[in-house]
């Protein structure tokens, strides 16, 4: 997302001279491409429509109080308690833990690959990093449950519950390392070599060049990568469903089980929920909340790209 943005303004060519004779094949291809684009836009519109209309049903239900929704600390639809904080706090906690893992590891990987690795090493390592991104998340989930949790239990003792947000958070972090790494590396690669040469020319070491010249020059791309990774962590479902816990729990203790927004939606919709009940509609309200959070993050990321982008010609 971030890496393609800088190319856009410079590649516009005036094609009016070529457009004089409309050609049938061109028109067909144009139409096909337009349809391809329209599909994703229409899908988004459809999703927003469903989310908003169902969430509206939820918020207009007598049992639901919108103030309680945003301030309440108990989420138990069965007894009419709809405070979103237990779910939201678990989501935010897992995302924070994940970013503590993914940020240093991903950025380190990116700097190594872009600045230090020999071209041959880089050519081998980068595909491996991208394979890591292709591992099904359900595998990460069981990795969290059957490897990470026992490991944490052996370090911190029995206070670590079998389902806990720390284990899920760390593994979500590992899951998004490739995303942070790969996108940041693209951003670092986009920094013109002349900057590095200039830095070496005034006697900077490789580390100084990397950290003081190249990273700041690529900061908009890196920041965008981080924001996208945060959205990914917030939306991650399978790992948290398997490893984080399956009951809303308002706590900041990472050793305890707690349920995230996505995990709750997955669990509730898998159950024997009757259509058109307030419980059923509640999952759309949660979905809408997730959607809004991701949307805001995307807007922030665009803003960052626009604001801090360094253009080198």
């Amino acid at each position: 997302m971030a890496s393609e943005a800088p190319l856009a303004p410079t590649t516009r060519v005036d094609t009016s001279a070529l457009d004089k004779k409309p050609r049938a094949r061109e028109t067909i291809i144009q139409a096909l491409l337009f349809i391809a684009g329209a599909i994703s836009i229409l899908t988004t519109v459809g999703i927003v429509y469903v989310l908003v209309s169902q969430a509206w049903l939820f918020f207009s239900d007598q049992q639901v109080n919108i103030v309680e929704f945003f301030t309440g600390t108990t989420w138990q639809p069965r007894i009419g308690r709809f405070g979103v904080w237990p779910l939201l706090s678990a989501t935010l906690m897992i995302t924070t833990i994940a970013m503590f893992v993914a940020l240093p590891a991903g950025l380190g990987t990116a700097i190594y690959l872009s600045e230090y690795a020999a071209p041959r090493t880089r050519a081998r390592l980068k595909p491996i990093l991208e394979i890591l991104a292709g591992i099904p998340t359900v595998v990460y989930g069981f990795f969290a449950l059957t490897f990470m949790t026992p490991l944490l239990q052996s370090i911190f003792g029995p206070q670590v519950q079998v389902f806990n947000t720390l284990s899920a958070g760390i593994v979500v972090g590992i899951l998004i390392i490739p995303m942070v790494g790969s996108m940041s590396e693209d951003a670092l690669q986009a920094v013109p070599d002349s900057l590095r040469q200039a830095a070496y020319g005034i006697g900077a070491t490789k580390l100084e060049t990397s950290l003081r010249i190249v990273v700041p020059a690529a900061i908009s791309g890196i920041a965008a990568a981080v924001v996208v990774a945060i959205s990914r962590a917030i939306g991650e479902t399978m790992v948290v469903t398997i490893a984080a816990g399956s009951g809303p729990n308002f706590t900041l203790n990472p050793f305890e089980a707690a349920e995230t927004l996505t995990g709750h939606i997955a669990r509730i919709s898998g159950g024997d929920l009757s259509y058109d009940s307030v419980d059923y509609n509640s999952i759309f309200a949660l979905g809408l909340l997730l959607f809004v959070i991701t949307l805001i993050l995307n807007m922030i990321s665009r803003r960052i790209v626009a604001r801090f982008r360094e253009v080198y010609e």
Binding site: Q76, I79, S246, G247, N249, G271, D272, L273, S274, Y275
Partner: protein, 343 residues
Amino acid sequence: MKKLTVLLVALLAILLVACGSDEPETVEVPVEIGGGANSEADTAADDETDLGVTESMDEMPMVDPLNVTGDIIEAGSSTVFPLAEAIAERFIDEGYSGNITIDSIGSGAGFSRFCEAGETDIANASRPIRDSEVESCQAIDRDPIEFRVGTDALAVVVSSDNDFVDDVTFAELQAIFSTAENWSDVRSEWPDEPIQLYIPGTDSGTFDYFVEEVFEEDPEPMLSADPQMSEDDNVLVQGVSASPYAIGFFGYAYYQENQDILQALSIEGVEPSAESVDNNTYPLARPLFIYSDCSVMNDKPQVNDYINYFLTNVNEVINEVGYFPASDDALNQARDSWLNCNN
């Protein structure tokens, strides 16, 4: 959602039957010969292997679902529902060509549709019929016949690493699953460690039953304790078995499968077992019934055949569904009741 789940279950069932088709065939072929022809040799062989317990089973004619047509309407307990559904799926797989409707509306509503409206052929129930319900049945010339099909028992379980709890009173059970934060809040000699709760999800009949028995139908106290919930019993087993301070509950059958990592608690001094469940001393067990009426069964041979099929096959599916088989006596009594209607 419910429809989708039923569809998925049906699909799964078809797949399972398709995969395991060798097994039921080999089981059923000899029974078919023995039951249908009533040959001396087969009966003798059956008696030897079963030690004569299933005496009345041999007397019931074998149903071939291929020959059964006509619709069956069944309604009642949501607890009996999965069992009836499993039997119905099997009945359909083996060739039954009519329509069977099973409504999960609760025992009471099931009886009122059977006894007052008289619109169903079978009432499913997770409690014996009440006198008032028998009266309303008689008012429309129906005489309800009870068939015991199984027992729903809940096991309250802790990890096998737990060495301090093995018996709880009802009051302690209430405290553990609601207000108590630490084990020491319940009994002072128990450790000062937080209680971790793992319970079935709020959409399950198991949840409802526990709330009904332990909390007098008010789910609030237990849900306010922020328990971990799952419709998947495996998740509960995992959770409970992992910590000595965790506790949970689910169907007894599921505990049985995981006896090596879990221990079931005695309640008010009664250990859950086949015996204590049978003689009703274990407090978290309830009988599962289907009810019908001789005249309905005589008017609609498909209902008659279905009940016969139900009683003959129930023990083959009941563990899968997660319930406890009825005692041989109770099941034989049910079979006798069926035979009485057919004389």
